[in-house]
Symmetry: D2
Subunit: 280 residues, 4 copies
Amino acid sequence: MSAPQPDKITGTPLVSRQDGQTTTVVPVGDVLFGGEKVIIIGGPCAVEGRDQITRLAAEVASKGGTMLRGGAWKPRTSPYSFQGLGVEGLELLAMARKSSGLPFVTEVLDPRDVETVAEVADMLQIGSRSVQNFPLLREAGASGKPVLLKRGMMTTIDEWLNAAEYVLASGGKDLVFCERGIRTFEPAMRNTLDLGSIAVLRERTHLPVIVDPSHAAGSRRYVETLARAAVAAGADGLLIETHDDPGHALSDAEQSLMPADFGSIVDSCRAIAQAIGRDL
Amino acid sequence: MSAPQPDKITGTPLVSRQDGQTTTVVPVGDVLFGGEKVIIIGGPCAVEGRDQITRLAAEVASKGGTMLRGGAWKPRTSPYSFQGLGVEGLELLAMARKSSGLPFVTEVLDPRDVETVAEVADMLQIGSRSVQNFPLLREAGASGKPVLLKRGMMTTIDEWLNAAEYVLASGGKDLVFCERGIRTFEPAMRNTLDLGSIAVLRERTHLPVIVDPSHAAGSRRYVETLARAAVAAGADGLLIETHDDPGHALSDAEQSLMPADFGSIVDSCRAIAQAIGRDL
Amino acid sequence: MSAPQPDKITGTPLVSRQDGQTTTVVPVGDVLFGGEKVIIIGGPCAVEGRDQITRLAAEVASKGGTMLRGGAWKPRTSPYSFQGLGVEGLELLAMARKSSGLPFVTEVLDPRDVETVAEVADMLQIGSRSVQNFPLLREAGASGKPVLLKRGMMTTIDEWLNAAEYVLASGGKDLVFCERGIRTFEPAMRNTLDLGSIAVLRERTHLPVIVDPSHAAGSRRYVETLARAAVAAGADGLLIETHDDPGHALSDAEQSLMPADFGSIVDSCRAIAQAIGRDL
Amino acid sequence: MSAPQPDKITGTPLVSRQDGQTTTVVPVGDVLFGGEKVIIIGGPCAVEGRDQITRLAAEVASKGGTMLRGGAWKPRTSPYSFQGLGVEGLELLAMARKSSGLPFVTEVLDPRDVETVAEVADMLQIGSRSVQNFPLLREAGASGKPVLLKRGMMTTIDEWLNAAEYVLASGGKDLVFCERGIRTFEPAMRNTLDLGSIAVLRERTHLPVIVDPSHAAGSRRYVETLARAAVAAGADGLLIETHDDPGHALSDAEQSLMPADFGSIVDSCRAIAQAIGRDL
């Protein structure tokens, strides 16, 4: 794939917000990111089996979630950790979509898998560790699918915007940013959620931004506080990990919410959304 | 002053929240930190003159603020920057208190000044750079005055709790924590506001916690987003810098709000407070 | 490619140093990483043309360098920056190897390019931004070529060791770590070189470790200090950017050394190497 | 004490290196910081008793150290940790100076103690947590004693230079910087030693800079690597913690070296010093 051509640039990056420009609405099926409604995405860290993902999708839908997440390819620190079910996980997500009616987002790790994932998924997630994986960003852009671009643990906002520019410069149109915490010296949570990034992105880009409180918290006890703060800060959505058997989850068990807690967070976030003139 | 005696300790630090313990209400005049109401503290970075501080105090009161802030001794990076009016600033704050009816908090930098400040101020602020100034913490505790303890830019939550323990071990009873952002690699704001610290402090301490969005933001454009998020995260109050002539402020001009903007932030924070069952 | 099988693991990761184990010598042509000699790798950030790379290779060889570096695929923050010459750059490096007699290392960014690069290059570089690009690590390991694994700007030593484990678990045998600085709050240099990582890696892994002072410094004025410190800390080699026309370099001009300065650094590092019982 | 007057400033800060200016030699008794010789300061974290400090002083002298360190007032995270012997510790240090012939440096924490400490000590240490304790910096400067100014764990080089300017603007002439590691995300060592700061300080200030590898390492296993690197980077001295009964040390036991290891580090650092045209 050839690099994007600088001579096509008219001066302003494609991600930049122009004076007076409103936030671009990014549609994923019926779900509209960047509109009045705050989008709630729920689901497990990893797809582990048919029963698990269909059951969780039903729970997410019944508790007020409007979109499903689930990992088929998992970026794991160690090569000996569970790496995801791959193509089988993708098929299970498609079944859960059918039964629940929720569109789904799933991570793609390898540029060689983009075509396969794009054929099935409603939205491609580029994970934190891939935020500067430029070949992957280009393939994701070229696929034409909506892209959910997580911030890297140590990515500046400028670098993040440039990463999004790779997607748009390769033909992508629909991109949503996802703040998920940055790496700092503070060990009390896994990462430090940087809600200020929402204010900065609002100035610099016309694209929507959502927040993942689960990965930042690293513990379910802290998810609600961060979720509420994110909605009040103006996030266009939340990406929340849920599980109904956290004791046996193959990854990220500590930070996944039980469905009942997921429902209660959705309710308290709705009240905050309404207080600032939005809804969910 | 002798160090606190380990043999007085019964095992649990004085700052720690016991099982089932509710948040301690810290009174400063009529103002109650840690109760149902979210406390709004407004005022300038530095006291610059009599007109300035009385005028700003009146504005803070009329726009819904319930307490006044203002610096008489300023910790400045350079020895050649304006260092504050000292005792004269303290007297001006007392006048502004009288005219506005608002109690005030002001920073004390030097253990030798604690007695002087404690005679006049309603609450002593220990600033970010002093969070591990142990002689100062001990004097502040011994004064018996309520203490507002800012988090250091480099301070873990554990270290911050230990700093508060110095105040309590020296006789202090009334202490309020103030999150104000930590230093990270991200340059878009001056510091990264760590709202997760509210959730962590709630678990670990029975003392109230407020948030200073102004110093974290470093720019008035970002203050409202951070203020709203702080209230939604459960902060017991906000410390907001205001100025009515930011172009001529002697310090922190960039991050100070005009009174009108202060009022509009108070209003939107009130709506969020009510959405989570509080008020302001 | 299937994930490595946990059941093949006998308990200890392949990268780990066993009790009493000596440092593994990693051969790249005649160059031996991890032996008595400190290896000096020089060359430009990016291959820009035939004359440039052959001239610089000759300079590196004449000034005491024993290996050549040069980028054919460049990971750039912006999609509109020069992205490298790709396959043509690889061919130019092969010409420079022939004329200078120096083996070369070059970065590979895309798992689809590994086979192509491995056919020509003597050593594959996995860059900072790719340290947790797991599909790329697996392909690099499967290629059987020696791998130079840079530390990410955001990577803990534990994560770095796990990244190397991906290479070894996929069939790779010859891997050299390269410390290049981490991202911190300090803006004076581009990154903060963490020479302590050499001491930590010595304990935890049997594989060699070299240091890239150029990327950490971000300015040629600081390269010599960092290079000398790295050799004294026990680095098995240095990776130094050189250029003979920094004013016109297409990338990283600020941090590239002129050949004369490169020679003088080699000389001062030799004296230090000899002082600690090594040579270069 | 009144603040330094901006109108006394002729444009350039007193700490700044002028074009062509050589490093200022700071004398502490017979010890000359910033000259040809690399100064080795050894001694315990805290003075614990007469025998301990005189015995350790003798060991430091016999193994090649030229100056003694020891804490009488200790800045401790918790108010219930050992806080030092205070004035008694100071007197014990004076006895150890007499018996060993080594001048000593000791930390002062409280501006009210500066006069007492300055009467006895050869050099005043301003510790990491006090680097922006402005009243303390002013008193230290006014005392006329040489000052050893440690870098804060999260102090930028610019802020550190400004802290030194407080000392000089208050009448201090003799100041030595001490790099001791900064706080980063990497947990393998207590802090990340930033040896690049030596290169940056060389450009920006005419004052000497030494390195404390013990506090950065947090473990004696890593001290030698960091010490050697510091000398190669051009440090004017080393500050190394030693103890002869680390199992019973009242503070910092993990990072203190036994005298024999101290001697072996001195020897290997001497070889490196000589390789770069210095000595110790």
